[in-house]
Amino acid sequence: MPSAAAELVFDEATKVYPGREGAAVDHLSLTVPAGEICVLVGPSGGGKTTALKLVNRLIPLTGGDIRIDGTSILDHDLVELRRSIGYVIQQVGLFPHMTIEANIGTVPKLLGRDRKWIRRRVAELLELVGLDPDKDRKRFPAELSGGQRQRVGLARALAANPSLMLMDEPFGAIDPIVRARLQDEFLRLQHELRKTVVFVTHDIDEAIKLGDRIAILREGGRLAQYDTPQRILEQPVDDFVADFVGRDRALKALSLRTLGDLEPTSAAGDGLPRLPAETNLRDALAVLIAEHREALVVVGADGRALGVVKREDLLR
């Protein structure tokens, strides 16, 4: 049941709170191509959450426009607009008095889907987010762990098969190990579903890991740079961006590529460390440093050596 992803356009979108000095979001213009993940990142006070909530009109625009597939959000019926957009928040906000099934089925039920359709959809979604449809369907949110609850939150947002997802620090309150796993699973899901996603975080590493594009917002809700992670890391437009991405941005840039992206040579690899092709270059470099080696052997999925990569190949 694929729904076409939507293109999202911020067009001079502006939010000024009455009685407060300066704008929260200041003439923000950017285009999120259909099916891509756009991460809004920046220091607190950068207006990233405000920008996100402008899209589903939880916060009304003061000026400018936001368009989904060419239609202004202001031309949509408010309730229909929100039902057509998936929304995930940090604290999840599951309804504690409803079962997991009822939580996930909320929007489909509002849209008039029948019970059988909802049951099937819930089972499908629970499986998709890595929960057990038989065991977890009838449980209540209080019986789940934080990570499980966020999975349910994601399933609930996907229930009506939205073409656009808004995610407000969804993994922010989860411990680092589970967070990394949820991030990986989210990327796997996105690879399958190809939704247009706007994702808010204050964590630049999360932004680099998840974003097809990253929008860095600075204080006062002004856009500092909107680019691919690669270009943000390699060509920050100013000191603010360079500062924000950190002094280790060259290392971070290494984490965007994997050993599989390189062309290994057929030199002898006896006694060298062996690493799988999906290892990113940053981790590979760390291994070389730790083991005082100048080269390593890249290993394919079948366990066969693909060849040898030298330290300078990583840094090229």
């Binding site: 939880l58 929100r82 928040i89 599951l94 309804f95 504690p96 209540f140 019986e143």
Partner: protein, 217 residues
Amino acid sequence: MVASTFVEAFRFMPNHFSLLLEKAGETAELAFTALAIALVIALPLGLWLGHKHRGLLLALGISSVGRSLPSVALIGLGIGILGVGFWNNTVALVVLAIPPVLTNTYFAVEGVDPDAVEAARGMGLTETQILTRVELPLGLPLLLAGLRIAAVFVIATATIAGIFGGGGLGDIMARQVTYGLGGVFAAALWVAGLALLTAAALGVAQRAASRRMTPRT
């Protein structure tokens, strides 16, 4: 003296069982009518103010005024307007019942997890749906607690209707000459029983409403 009254009271009960039943029915009718009217007034107001997160002072103001008005004085005043009887007593009891219902309803809705409400709004529930499907069920335990307090107040106070021609168990209590001290005591025990039964029933409902929201261990 006390012991003999006690014995007398328990002798009174089987001998005047149908009378007690009839009077208890009157008290219950009076009390539940007052509670119903109080609910009709205070529930929508409390729900609306709580949903809007405003009117805290209004809710508390109405409540403290309501609580500080003595029911006896109110009935005395009401005789001039409504005359002696059922409705005059009912009005006084409604005034008594509104404060706990209003404040508890307000805080029940106002205190619902803001993340659940925000998620609901973001998902496209209308304001009415947020109230009926999220805030009301989640606030129900606290709301029922308010109703329970109001019910106990009202049933206990409904006895003063006996003095003001409203009938009920208070009628027996006001006529010691006819029914004796044992009769008064018996009626008082029945009032207490009625209040406790109602409180217990609402307590069961309250626990049922909050059962799902706490983790099962």
